[in-house]
Symmetry: C2
Subunit: 156 residues, 2 copies
């Protein structure tokens, strides 16, 4: 009888190095973007992403479930986040006409203004800290890899 738990294929040194760089860069980048945006505009990056999706939707309105899907949040998390933003007057919730279970979420003018104020800060940060460190080829590779990972995990 041999061991029951088969050894996994461990990461080779190159993979380990890449994985740690990825983890570290992630945390540092997110922390930096979040802090900067919050300081200069009072929004978190998570809030910002919610606003972006709403602002792109027809009538600046989306159902909670669609919004949750787009920003990759759990429903519960989105409910809490939207509750806070609604209290701040940046969006409103309305009954969904087609489906009585549904709730529509609409960006208010104040919310749109907040987004417009935040956008330059955020984009400048993303460019400076991430895209300025890459050439076009890097961007293509990163995008392709992440798109593959995302798609696969989504339909798992």
């Amino acid at each position: 009888m041999t061991t029951n738990a088969p050894e996994p294929r461990w990461l080779d040194p190159q993979e380990q190095w890449a994985w740690r760089a990825y983890l570290d860069a992630n945390r540092l980048l997110w922390e930096r973007l979040d802090r900067d945006l919050d300081e200069r505009s009072g929004l978190s990056v998570s809030d910002y992403e919610i606003f972006v999706r709403l602002s792109e939707a027809p009538d600046r309105t989306l159902r909670m479930s669609q919004l949750a899907e787009q920003v990759v949040h759990s429903r519960s998390r989105l409910t809490h986040a939207v509750g806070r933003l609604e209290r701040a007057g940046l969006l409103v919730r309305e009954d969904c006409p087609d489906d009585r279970r549904g709730v529509l979420c609409r960006l208010t003018d104040a919310g749109f203004a907040a987004l417009e104020a935040a956008a330059p800060v955020h984009v400048t940060g993303v460019r400076e800290h991430l895209f300025d460190q890459m050439d076009a080829e890097d961007v293509a590779v990163l995008g392709a890899v992440m798109d593959r990972v995302r798609t696969r995990l989504r339909d798992l």
Copy 2:
């Protein structure tokens, strides 16, 4: 007189696509790894990383500040996390002989056993969900980019 706030260089469509893929893949990947590891070994990925660093250190011991640096956590966050793990008996804190301000953190045998149990689960997940989606060239590019981003943000 012209506008005071200069327009930032916005992201072009390729960059925007890459950025969103990156954000989404990040969240999905982290969520998946965290949930799987927690279910099968009771550890979060954050805990796991702490254990990895301690296990690699001489005498399985590091100072809090060094550990915080290595896992890219704030000191406060690490204090709370280590407090929980100490209560669980997976590590212990000791006075630092050289520097009375310092605190040494040492992985216990129970902690090392927990790490050994968790490692195959974690590595399998990372491989399956991330590295199996990349070829060697992708790994090199991702590693190089993230290393650059990390280094730059660290000494900012």
